[in-house]
């Protein structure tokens, strides 16, 4: 049987060094390795997996500009240039004085307010070149980052009418938990099961069933883990939920812990949301004071349960539940070969439930409102409501709590979408649909939305969107399996060919075949889903793709002049 390796403190130790001086030196790695009795290379392996850990000085002010497609379409290029000019630092580098470091990062969950950046993990939104110049000046003049950081708006644009909202309704702390005093764990599980609530993190696994599977495991202790990694570009509903109703998440986790018989809950919070820490910690403290967290919880005798927060360090793949568990254990966030499931062997090899923020929050409402009331909402396959993060070419970006079953057309009308052409559902790993598919419905039966809707209008270049997605996967693949690590790179080369106008019809066919191979052979959802958007777009917009390619007999698209460019430059031929 496998040996469980627990290096849980490692991420926090690395964070301490990173925070103290802006990078992690060889000496730091040495010290940490010594302290934890690991080899240097193990610590370096973990350190270099996460892109917020730097091995070289990264500046006193570390700027991460979101490079998602929504940021791109909102002015990324101009903001990037302004940052370079104002700071004098090169991209992916630091200025001479070591003051500013400028870096790209994948979506930071502020798609409703792009272009957005983090400076020392404080949020800055709706950036413009002018705003950048002012910010940099202020920072140079010693104004603290905290003081300059933007106050983030968390707009909830829509809730179902007639009191049908599930998540965004009145919150009375303790109301759901009060029910625990009359319910056994089995009854909690039965209630959640009968609600037919499905996981909101993307895989749609029934929540009650997962809890039951975990409870049935003989081994103890068991763990409750909340997946607050929200890395799928375009998704920010968990940010809004955790800001507005952290109590609901906490109550859901307590319910989960009670149901499966756990004593410890862990929120795995993406580092991009570090600014939410005080809020979440504050809420946890309130629950401790209320007697709902801690030892021998007064409100429910003989139940010990507490929650801690673990900060990630920049890696989209850590949203995949098994990678998340490895990350919690202080390892590289590599998804497991699916030999065991977390409910059998999860955190520290012990039975663990991993659920999304919204899943826990909704589960708390299920207990509060009752499964029957919940089931009356939504569709048979997906009862209740769903939070959608809506962003892109529309007037009202923000979170929409829709009743499952709402049509695409209804949503588009609510958002004030202008001249929409293309919608990306569930982020780059999801699927694209034409805005003309107004009749399609968000539901388990039809459009299984993972929580993000990106709207693109007729002016947007589809190929540019797809190139951005492929670059994202190439960057964020954990690198452990061939079809995803190499496949995304290879696809990006192929798309480059198309972008340069050198593609042929056969290239389109190859993209499709290679994408399918990645889906067949990849180890986890990241690689399996990485070519979805691409293949999907080719199905939806064949005319667009045919216009991208040319046919020139049996010659390939080879650009001789460009291939000779380097030589001509070296020998001075014009």
């Amino acid at each position: 049987m496998e040996k469980i390796i627990d290096h849980s403190p490692l991420l926090n130790l690395l964070w301490a060094r990173q925070d103290a001086k802006g990078f992690i030196s060889d000496q730091d790695i040495h010290d940490i390795a010594e302290h934890m009795d690991l080899s240097f290379i193990e610590v370096e392996g973990v350190c270099t997996f996460y892109h917020f850990f730097h091995r070289r000085p990264a500046g006193k002010f570390i700027v991460y500009l979101n490079n998602s497609i929504l940021s791109d379409f909102s002015g990324y290029a101009a903001v990037r240039k302004a940052l370079e000019t104002a700071t004098g630092a090169p991209w992916n580098g630091v200025d001479r004085k070591g003051l500013f470091g400028l870096f790209d990062t994948s979506c930071i969950g502020l798609s409703d307010q792009e272009p957005a950046a983090l400076i020392n993990f404080r949020p800055f939104v709706k950036l413009t070149p002018e705003k950048v110049q002012q910010l940099v000046n202020a920072l140079r003049n010693g104004v603290p980052v905290d003081q300059l950081a933007d106050h983030i708006e968390n707009p909830v644009r829509y809730v179902p009418p007639d009191g049908k909202a599930v998540v965004f309704r009145e919150m009375v702390p303790g109301r759901a938990l009060q029910k625990l005093t009359q319910m056994t764990p089995e009854e909690v599980i039965a209630e959640v099961k009968s609600s037919n609530l499905r996981g909101m993190g993307g895989a749609f696994f029934p929540v009650g069933e997962k809890w039951e599977l975990c409870r049935k495991q003989p081994k103890t202790p068991r763990y409750v883990v909340c997946n607050a990694d929200e890395g799928e570009p375009g998704t920010f509903k968990d940010r809004v939920l955790m800001t507005k109703l952290p109590e609901l998440l906490i109550e859901g986790m307590i319910l989960g812990g009670y149901a499966i018989g756990a004593n410890q809950g862990i929120i795995y919070l993406r580092a991009e949301y570090r600014y939410l820490l005080p809020r979440l910690e504050g809420a946890l403290d309130r629950y401790r004071q209320m007697g709902w967290l801690g030892k021998d919880i007064p409100a429910r005798k003989h139940f010990d349960f507490d929650i801690r927060i673990q900060l990630g360090a920049g890696a989209y793949v850590c949203g995949e539940e098994t990678a998340l568990l490895d990350s919690l254990m202080g390892k590289r966030g590599e998804p497991w070969p699916k030999v065991y499931f977390p409910v059998e062997r999860g955190y520290l090899g012990l039975p663990t439930i991993v659920n999304n923020v919204e899943s826990f929050a909704t589960a708390a409402r299920v207990i509060e409102l009752g499964a029957e009331a919940f089931r009356r909402l939504g569709t048979p396959g997906s009862p209740g409501t769903r939070l959608l993060s809506v962003a892109g070419d529309c007037s009202y970006p923000g979170v929409y709590e829709i009743e499952w079953g709402m049509s695409v057309g209804e949503l588009l009308d609510l958002t004030g979408a202008q001249d929409p052409l293309y919608l990306q559902i569930s982020g780059p790993s999801g699927i694209g649909i034409s805005a003309a598919d107004r009749h399609r419905r968000f539901s388990f039966e039809d459009l299984r939305c993972g929580g993000s809707v990106m709207i693109f209008n007729h002016k947007r270049d589809l190929l540019k969107i797809l190139v951005n997605f492929t670059e994202f996967f190439k960057e964020e693949s954990c690198g452990v399996c061939t079809p995803c690590r190499a496949g995304n790179f290879i696809l990006s080369r192929k798309l480059e060919l198309l972008s340069r106008g050198l593609g042929r019809g056969a290239d389109l066919e190859e993209i499709r075949q290679w994408g399918n191979l990645m889906t067949t052979a990849s180890r986890c959802g990241l690689g399996k889903g990485a070519s979805n958007a691409l293949i999907n777009a080719m199905d939806k917009f064949p005319v667009y793709f045919q216009k991208l390619v040319h046919s020139k007999g049996r010659e390939k698209g080879f650009d001789l002049d460009s291939a000779l460019g380097d030589y001509r430059e070296a020998v001075g031929i014009k």
Binding site: E2, S39, F40, I41, K474, R485, A521, R554
Partner: protein, 424 residues
């Protein structure tokens, strides 16, 4: 404890194996060999990194090494889709790394190569990435050649120094993932442990100084003719129409060394038979410089390193019905493509600048209107024109060459045996 035996099916046939055994092992126990690369029997949970062992069960795809046999399990293995997927993974690994087999110590004993032979990989369908990878000479005993590492993870899991400290780890993430050796721990390895590391690496990425000389041809693991029987061959699609006239063949050597042409002449008495069937047009063999008629078959040696190569190749495509790329250089660049991982400027500076220090005024890079101009990198022929057949080898085996040619000319079938199918 007695193991429970379960029944399961592969491609509809019933087999038995101990419950919970990995499907790779269970299949092997029943005489079915599922291709694998990263699989290393006693590592549990299995590594599951290379994905060359893909099978299907209940309509979903799984890596056979990570699938445990259960009672009643039904597995699809030998289907066109899965055969292609497994082959594609091998091709992807070739495209991702920089595999110059003729210059590799492990050649002939390499599992990646062996699988390429077994699955009949003549060319990687994927574009070679040509990333600049390091050869790490810093460790005391071991040299790590990152060009050849397939990131199988065996060394990470298996090589431990005294005190159970890992010696290798993955670094970085995504397309930048590499395996890195810990210099301090490596120094603690005994000679035997270092040798074991070299042997567990399925490819030639871990070498031990002074102990990694290639073995002589014929004595290497994958030289043996019976190592898995014939090479799987894709059926020939383009045979030229059979008529009374002699078939017309043209040949050329682009960025090659004429080694492939030597191999063409290497078939001894069969040459006489072939001469009856064909006539040569444009070819270094006839010294005919330009096409004087349409040709049935064009044979290309070497890839494209300059504009003249591109021009000649395009002319071959225009004048020949069927194009055959022979040898590694024509197929994907081969040895000359070693320069592809550095910029042309750096190459030229090295060749004409720093190296020729006696030139007073610094570098003089030759150029003249009569000289061909260099491309930014070496291109395999199929990056410039469509190619119909690929015959691997450096140089290709003579009988392999003629088997394919005769097939194209006469439309007869052919099969290639292991000893005729090589990348070196």
């Amino acid at each position: 404890m007695k193991e429970k035996v379960v029944s399961f099916t592969i491609d509809g046939k019933k087999y038995q194996a101990p419950e919970g055994q990995s499907l790779i092992k269970a299949a092997e126990g029943n005489g079915i060999s599922i291709p694998s690369l990263c699989y290393y029997e006693h590592i549990d949970p299995p590594l599951g990194t290379c994905r060359v062992c893909m099978v299907k069960s209940d309509g979903r795809s799984f890596a056979a090494c990570t699938l445990k046999v259960r009672e009643g399990m039904s597995v699809e293995f030998n289907t066109p889709e899965l055969n292609d997927a497994r082959k594609a993974m091998v091709e992807m690994l070739f495209a991702e790394g920089n595999h110059f087999c003729p210059a590799c110590e492990k050649s002939g004993d390499c599992d990646l190569q062996g699988l390429g032979y077994r699955l009949g990989v003549t060319i990687s369908r994927f574009p070679h990435l040509f990333l600049d990878r390091v050869i790490d000479y810093r460790p005391k005993r071991i040299v790590v050649d990152h060009n050849r590492c397939i990131l199988c993870r065996r060394c990470v899991e298996e090589v431990k120094a005294e005190g159970q400290y890992p010696v290798f780890s993955f670094l970085n993430r995504g397309s930048g993932t590499v395996v890195q050796i810990d210099y301090e721990q490596e120094a603690k390895l005994s000679d035997n442990e270092a040798m074991r590391a070299m042997h567990l690496c399925p490819v030639g990425a871990i070498l031990v100084r002074g102990k990694s000389r290639p073995r002589p041809r014929g004595e290497r693991k994958y030289d043996l003719q019976d190592a898995g029987g014939d090479v799987e061959q894709a059926p020939i699609k383009h045979s030229v129409s059979v008529g009374k006239n002699k078939k017309v063949i043209a040949t050329t050597s682009l960025a090659g060394c004429f080694g492939c042409h030597m191999s063409l002449l290497d078939i001894d008495e069969e040459l006489v038979e072939i001469i009856e069937l064909v006539e040569f047009n444009k070819s270094p063999l006839t010294d005919i410089k330009t096409f004087s008629k349409r040709c049935d078959v064009g044979i290309i040696e070497g890839g494209c390193c300059n504009d003249e190569n591109v021009e000649v190749l395009r002319a071959f495509r225009a004048n020949c019905d069927v194009l055959v790329a022979i040898g590694e250089c024509a197929i994907w660049g081969g040895l000359p493509a070693m320069r592809n991982v550095v910029s042309l400027e750096e190459c030229l500076n090295e060749a004409y600048g720093h190296a020729t220090s006696d030139v007073e005024e610094g570098k003089v890079i030759p150029h003249h209107e009569d000289l061909p101009e260099l491309l930014d990198r070496i291109y395999g022929c199929n990056e410039v024109v469509e190619i119909d057949y690929y015959i691997p080898g450096c140089p290709p085996d003579a009988s392999h060459l003629w088997k394919v040619l005769k097939n194209i000319i006469l439309g007869t079938g052919y099969s290639v045996i292991k000893s005729e199918f090589k990348y070196d």
